[in-house]
């Protein structure tokens, strides 16, 4: 039963792909509808909710005061952690973090970290003694496909709207966290033999490998990841890389609109 359903689904997805069609009627590079909300959690110093199709993600930013690492006395730290809680779907089990949720956390973390959008030295309070630790926690409440892009979008939106709670820690007035850029992730999954943008849960179930691309404001690459079994050609990558450029520009506008509030 478990093996049979994906086999039939795979056949159907392959048949659809021959006519360049998708199971939910979307175009190959067409994403689902996205609703983005920021500052939606009372206790988060920054927060965001993303409803991406039927996928629902919350992200919250918290600040901790800690002692710096001995080799980097003038730098604060950034940590991004995603939890695939068992609430997210029937297939998720309770227990310690699964390899899937660790991969998700690390891919989102790398995109934000490597874009350099946070100046770690600006997170220093007293050199060698006190620095800010910025923690972005991502909570997946409903997985109906493409949680990577939705998590990355929630994380950067929460970060870009975060307020440093300096008053609560007795180190001056609260201020808006300086986030210099908006790294955005776009993910592609091989479905019916060819790549599509923003795979739904059904397409993921009957699909193959996926590629995650995180791009900065200037269109530079900041993080790449290939997940699951499968191979691709440089030509295929060139094609999705072009699509990623335009999708990321659109998604970045969504984040910018939130900050205007």
């Amino acid at each position: 039963m478990v093996a049979l359903v994906p086999t039939l689904l795979r056949q159907e997805l392959a048949r659809l792909a021959e006519n360049d069609a998708r199971i939910d009627g979307r175009g190959r590079w067409e994403g689902r509808q996205i609703t983005l909300e920021s500052d939606c959690l009372y206790n988060g110093e920054g927060s965001a909710k993303v409803v991406w199709g039927d996928t629902i993600i919350y992200a919250g930013v918290k600040f901790e005061m800690r002692t710096p690492w001995p080799d980097r006395p003038n730098e604060g730290s950034l940590m991004c952690s995603a939890e695939l809680r068992p609430i997210a779907g029937r297939k998720y089990e309770p227990g310690p973090p699964s390899p899937e949720s660790i991969e998700l956390s690390r891919v989102v973390d790398r995109g934000i970290r490597e874009s350099g959008c946070i100046d770690m030295e600006k997170l220093c309070i007293v050199p060698g003694e006190k620095v800010w630790g910025v923690m972005i926690d991502i909570h997946v409440l409903s997985d109906q496909g493409n949680i990577f892009d939705a998590c990355a979008l929630a994380a950067i939106t929460a970060l870009r709207t975060a307020i440093v709670p300096a008053e609560r820690f007795d180190v001056g007035d609260d201020y808006t966290l300086n986030v210099k850029s908006t790294p955005i992730m776009a993910s592609f999954t091989r479905v019916g033999g060819r790549y599509v943008f923003d795979a739904s849960e059904e397409e993921e179930l009957g699909g193959d490998e996926r590629i995650h691309i995180t791009l900065g404001d200037e269109g530079h690459l900041h993080s790449l990841q290939k997940g699951l079994k499968g191979v691709f050609t440089p030509e295929e990558f060139a094609e999705i890389f072009d699509v990623a450029q335009s999708r990321c520009v659109e998604l970045r506008k969504l984040v910018a609109n939130q900050e205007g509030n």
């Binding site: 959690l41 629902i56 939890e83 029937r90």
Partner: protein
Amino acid sequence: MGGYGDVKLLRDDGLRLDGRKIDEMRPIEIEAGYLPAADGSAWVKHGLNIAVAAVYGPMEAHPRKIQRQDRCVIDVRYNMAPFSTSDRIRPGFNRRSREISKVTAEALESVVICERYPRSKIRVEIEILSAEAGTRCAGITAAAVALADAGIPMRDLLVGVASGKVEGVVVLDLDKAEDNYGQADLPVGILPNTGEIAFLQMDGDLSPDEFNLAMKYNFKAAAEIHEIMVDALKRRYEGGEN
């Protein structure tokens, strides 16, 4: 309880710091069917608390040793999101959430008609996204609406509600400051139609009379919350979406 004692929680006009009367609840909003992936789900905003509950199942109970031949088991996980409180909570198990999960599961097993699903398991996931005192009650209310949304037969809708004592006065539905600096907290799970109690905890100091008054407030509030729960379920199913 915190027991600091010297923090003023009642104003000179007899109202509470947030302007509520002593027997007044914080505002409650409920939405049934919040999560597309779940068999049943609910979103509950109770004051500044936000609880989301999902129900999966009934499904086969694994491992086999947890199966009951004559009924289903209910597996509850109450979890606070790391960003739900003012200091970040480390993700993962802790003793508090395990205890709350256990007694919540037992409360729900007392209202669900478990005999209907022998050898099965019903998974109830409660996630607290925002915590401001009263999360276990918001979680219970959310779980009950989610179970109803999943079509699981129950004897009644379980309602989570709490009363407590601040500055020697019994008050309904403690907020964060009242919970931290008050003298008692009495969270209960009430079956409003039968008048029974399926969930009970308490800490602090209450005289027998104060206890009776707190319970009276709890029953009054449970009837009000019950109406909001029923409304949420009606909106979900009368709208013709399903």
